[in-house]
C-alpha cells in the first residue's frame, strides 16, 4: 500500500490509517443503503423490523421525486447547452491572448469556481428578477452554468495546450479558409474533450444543491426535493434513492477500473 521508502512500522501505521479512512468513507453509505431494506417506517438499521422492498415501490409511485428527476435532467441538459460553447470560446480566446490581458481575463473566468455556491445562486436570482424572470428551472440553469462553464473552459484549455498548431497553420497556408480549418481540424481535435466536459457538466449540475436551492424558486430538482424531505420528516424512500446512486456509482467505477486495468497487465 505504502511507499518503499517508509520503515515497516510506519508502513503498518499508514496502512491501518488508510483502512480506517476508507471505512470512514464507506461505512456511512453502507448504513444508509441497509436502511432502505428495513420495513420500519423511520430510516434506521438498529431498529430492524424485517427485510422489505416496499420503499422501492413507494419511490416508483412518488410523483414529486420522479418529476424532480425529470427537472434535474432538463436543467443539466440546459447547463450543457450554455456552458460548453461558453467554455470553448473562453479557452480558444485565452490560448491566443498575450500574457497580461490573458491573466485578467483568466481571473474573471475562473472566479466562479472559487465563489461559494450560494453566492452564485443569489446573484443569478437577483439578476434575472430585474428582467421579470422569477426563480425556476431557467434561473437554475443560468446560475449553475456560471461556474460549470469555468470547469468546461479549464478542460478545453488543458487540451489546447497539447495542440500542435503547425497543423492549422499548414492548412491555412494551403489555402483552407478559417472556418474550414476550425471545422476540420480544431473541432475534431477538441471533440473528445467536449464529450468529457459535457459529462462533467451533467454530473456537476445534477449534483448541485447550494447554488440551485437559491435559484430554483417554486420549482424543484431531484436534489432540492431530497433536501426538503431531509428537513421535514425522514423516510426510507430517500434511502432507496441513495441505494440507486451507490449502485450506479459502483458500476461506473468497476467498469472504469476494469477498462483502465487491462492494458497495464497485458
Amino acid at each position: 500500500m505504502s511507499t518503499a521508502t517508509d520503515s515497516p512500522g510506519a508502513r503498518l501505521i499508514l496502512n491501518i490509517y488508510i483502512g480506517l479512512f476508507v471505512l470512514y468513507l464507506f461505512l456511512p453509505l453502507a448504513v444508509m443503503s441497509a436502511a432502505a431494506f428495513n420495513s420500519f417506517d423511520y430510516p434506521s438499521v438498529t431498529q430492524w423490523r424485517g427485510f422489505t422492498l416496499k420503499w422501492f415501490v413507494a419511490l416508483a409511485n412518488d410523483q414529486r421525486l420522479l418529476q424532480g428527476l425529470v427537472n434535474s435532467v432538463l436543467v443539466a441538459l440546459g447547463v450543457i447547452v450554455v456552458s460548453i460553447p461558453a467554455g470553448l470560446s473562453g479557452a480558444l480566446i485565452l490560448t491566443r491572448l498575450g500574457q497580461r490581458s490573458g491573466t485578467v481575463l483568466y481571473s474573471v473566468l475562473v472566479s466562479p469556481v472559487l465563489t461559494p455556491g450560494i453566492i452564485l445562486g443569489i446573484s443569478s436570482l437577483i439578476f434575472w428578477r430585474e428582467f421579470g424572470v422569477p426563480g425556476g428551472l431557467f434561473v437554475a440553469v443560468m446560475a449553475q452554468s456560471s461556474f460549470i462553464a469555468s470547469y468546461a473552459m479549464l478542460l478545453f484549455l488543458a487540451r489546447l495546450q497539447r495542440q500542435d498548431r503547425t497543423l492549422e497553420e499548414a492548412a491555412l497556408d494551403l489555402g483552407a479558409s478559417h472556418t474550414l480549418v476550425f471545422r476540420r481540424i480544431t473541432l475534431p481535435f477538441l471533440a473528445p474533450t467536449a464529450f468529457t466536459a459535457a459529462v462533467v457538466a451533467f454530473l456537476q449540475s445534477f449534483e448541485n444543491y447550494n447554488t440551485t436551492v437559491f435559484a430554483i424558486g417554486g420549482e424543484w430538482t431531484l436534489v432540492t426535493e431530497i433536501a426538503s424531505r431531509l428537513r421535514f420528516g425522514l423516510s426510507p424512500v430517500i434511502n432507496v434513492v441513495g441505494v440507486i446512486f451507490v449502485v450506479l456509482t459502483l458500476l461506473a467505477a468497476t467498469t472504469y477500473v476494469l477498462l483502465k486495468g487491462k492494458p497495464k497487465r497485458a
Binding site: S2, F26, I122, I238, G261
Partner: protein, 345 residues
C-alpha cells in the same frame, strides 16, 4: 482582437468573442453587480407609516359620526371638508406605504444584529477549523495515494476515494445524520449494551454539538483537500526522499523539509477549496443540525431571502461572506506563493 482574427478568421473570432462577452456579462459580472447593488439600498421602514394611516382612519370614522349627527348645515359641511382632507392624506400615505422610497447606504451591513454578527464570526472560525482538520486527516491519505507503488494500487485507491464523492452530497450528509441521530446507529448500538436508555430519551445528543457538522463537512469535502495534494506530490522525485533518508534524516524531518515544501501549492489549493466550500455550505448545517444545533451563516442568508423576504439584507449578508472568502483566498495565495493558474488544477 487582431491576433484572434488572424488565428480564427474574422467571423469566427467575432462569434467566439460574442459568446465570451455574453458569458462574462450575463452569468458572472452583472449578476454579481446586481447582488452588490441590492445590498446597498433598503426601503423605508413602513412601521410608523401604517400607524399614522391607522390614526387618520380613526379620525375619519369619528368625524363621519359627528357629521351624521350634526344638525347645523354649515358645521356638517366643515366636517365633510375635514374628512375629505384626511382621506386625501391617508390615500397619499398609503401609496407611499405600497411603494416606499429607496434609501442608499451601507446600513444593511451595519444593521447586522450582534447575534448575527456572532454567528458570522463563528461560521468563519468553524470553517477554518474544518479546513485545518481536513488537512490533518487528508495529508497522510494523499501521501499514501501519491506515492503508492504500482499503478493498479493507485487506481484502486483513487476509485475508492472517488466513489463516495460521486454520490450526492446530500445523501452523504444524510448517511451521517442516520448515524448520529437520537435513535441513530451509535445511540442504537450503545442502547444494546445498556449504555444509554433510548426508551426514556436518554440518548446522547450528537446532533446538538457543532462537531457533528464538522464530521459531516469533512466527510463531504474531503476530496477537495486530497486531490490537489496528491497532484503535487505525484511530481515529487522519490529519490529525494531516499537521499534524505540515506543522509540520516528522521521521518518527521523528511516530511517537514522535503515532502511538505513540495506539496505546498497543493496544500494551498486544498485549503482554499475546503474553506470556501465549508464557509458557504448551506446543505450540511441545514441537514445536520435540523434546527437543534447552532446556525451557520449560510442558513441566516437563506432565511433573509425566503423567510423574512428581505433581499436587501440577505444580499448584504451574501456580500459579507463573499468578501471574507475572497480575502482568505488572496491571503492563502500570497502566503503560499501560488497563482490562480495553480488553483485551477
Amino acid at each position: 482582437m487582431g491576433s484572434l482574427a488572424r488565428a480564427y478568421g474574422r467571423p469566427l473570432a467575432l462569434t467566439l468573442t460574442a459568446i465570451l462577452v455574453l458569458w462574462i456579462l450575463a452569468l458572472i459580472l452583472v449578476p454579481l453587480g446586481a447582488m452588490v447593488q441590492q445590498s446597498l439600498w433598503w426601503k423605508d421602514s413602513a412601521g410608523d407609516l401604517s400607524l399614522t394611516i391607522d390614526r387618520l382612519y380613526n379620525d375619519i370614522a369619528t368625524l363621519q359620526l359627528d357629521a351624521g349627527n350634526a344638525t347645523d348645515a354649515a358645521k356638517k359641511a366643515a366636517l365633510d371638508a375635514e374628512i375629505a382632507t384626511k382621506q386625501g392624506e391617508a390615500t397619499a400615505l398609503e401609496a407611499q406605504e405600497l411603494n416606499p422610497g429607496k434609501q442608499w447606504g451601507l446600513d444593511n451591513f451595519t444593521r447586522m444584529s450582534s447575534l448575527h454578527l456572532y454567528i458570522f464570526v463563528r461560521t468563519i472560525l468553524y470553517a477554518l477549523m474544518v479546513t485545518a482538520l481536513a488537512l490533518i486527516v487528508c495529508y497522510p491519505v494523499a501521501y499514501v495515494v501519491a506515492l503508492a507503488s504500482g499503478p493498479r494500487k493507485a487506481i484502486i485507491l483513487t476509485v475508492a476515494l472517488i466513489v463516495p464523492y460521486a454520490i450526492n452530497e446530500l445523501l452523504r450528509v444524510y448517511a451521517w445524520l442516520m448515524i448520529l441521530d437520537y435513535r441513530g446507529v451509535i445511540n442504537g448500538v450503545l442502547g444494546w449494551f445498556g449504555v444509554v436508555d433510548l426508551d426514556n430519551r436518554g440518548w446522547i445528543p450528537f446532533l446538538e454539538n457543532p462537531s457533528a457538522v464538522f464530521l459531516a463537512m469533512i466527510y463531504t469535502y474531503v476530496l477537495f483537500m486530497v486531490f490537489p495534494i496528491v497532484n503535487t506530490l505525484e511530481t515529487l522525485d522519490r529519490n529525494q526522499i531516499e537521499a534524505a533518508r540515506d543522509l540520516g534524516a528522521s521521518t518527521a524531518r523528511i516530511h517537514r523539509r522535503v515532502i511538505i515544501p513540495h506539496a505546498k501549492p497543493g496544500i494551498a489549493v486544498g485549503c482554499i477549496m475546503t474553506f470556501m466550500l465549508s464557509a458557504g455550505s448551506y446543505s450540511v448545517p441545514a441537514i445536520m443540525t435540523r434546527g437543534q444545533g447552532g446556525d451557520w451563516f449560510s442558513q441566516l442568508v437563506y432565511r433573509q431571502f425566503f423567510e423574512s423576504n428581505n433581499w436587501n439584507m440577505g444580499s448584504a449578508y451574501a456580500v459579507s461572506l463573499l468578501v471574507v472568502c475572497t480575502a482568505f483566498i488572496l491571503l492563502m495565495m500570497r502566503f503560499f506563493g501560488v497563482g490562480l493558474r495553480d488553483i485551477a488544477k
